[in-house]
Symmetry: C2
Subunit: 204 residues, 2 copies
Amino acid sequence: MRGRFITLEGIDGAGKSTHLRWIARFLMDHGRKVMVTREPGGTAVGEKLRGLVLRGNHGLNPETETLLMFAARREHLDKVIIPALARGHWVLCDRFTDATYAYQGAGSGTDWKKIGLLERWVHDGLQPDLTILLDVSPAVGRQRARRRQQPDRFEREKGAYYRRVRNAYLRRARANSRRVRVIDAGRSLPEIHKELEEILLTYC
Amino acid sequence: MRGRFITLEGIDGAGKSTHLRWIARFLMDHGRKVMVTREPGGTAVGEKLRGLVLRGNHGLNPETETLLMFAARREHLDKVIIPALARGHWVLCDRFTDATYAYQGAGSGTDWKKIGLLERWVHDGLQPDLTILLDVSPAVGRQRARRRQQPDRFEREKGAYYRRVRNAYLRRARANSRRVRVIDAGRSLPEIHKELEEILLTYC
């Protein structure tokens, strides 16, 4: 039986890593085989591209960055995601194409129509079964992300940038309301887990 | 006055480097400012991507490789080619998009229609003013390329691969006959230079 493909999205500091671990545990407790991966990255070449984009100091053209994200994604789908789904694993992916619309699109200025062309080019019809958008205000995200040791290039961006990214995510959620579930991630962990549990049980 | 954009194409061992130097000298002798560059590469990030593709051992999906080529190209156009043309330089580029059709397309199997979509995405209407296709048989190219110390991943490919690449170049030339000039590069240097001179003088 083909597994499910679940992506987690949200601005930096929304709590993706924490909730991703919780979801993985929850699914394993329900007898599912789980594979956890991330974007950009997830493959040898993808991690190198992640380094170029997140840690590089090349002043990349936003369209170059968008193409690199989709190059990493093509490899990730081919080598990791599609084979894992075929083996019956549930794939939990920390960021996917919605992040490209939010960051490279609304954040950095690549036209959404051009992102849509690459999405069709690369996805070949595949979409996540479920996307969980962890929504927090940029102020809260900022406060949480600030505790990290070494912020990457995106984490150093200004407040206006994060407002654009957050709004873009919410716009994507409205336009894809069957796939994307928005979670208010400013609440306590037990409240969030309760809502995640309800959502996940409808897929189990 | 905007400069001219000239690309050189051909299979490995066709003599691109030799003829590129000769063309650069010829144009400088005719009072042109010349900039020489190459693909994949030409920018800091482009050279890193060149390393990933030519020297890497990732067994890349051909579509990933195609996306990486166009990512490098977007950056190259933005940071190097378009500004140089605007400053009035003549840009001589060792390989460009025809090479993607030939190598990633005919060589490795990426659909030409999908390459065409990326070409439109990335070029934004810009095309070389002139493309010189140095045509040799795979046997001759092979013999010349073999003299090199460290063949890259493509140079280690087999004869059938090179026949596909060469035929793809010739097909591109037929479909773009106003832009692409095919030179029989199996002849002597003086014969080739005489033909190059005639072609270049019509652009000077």
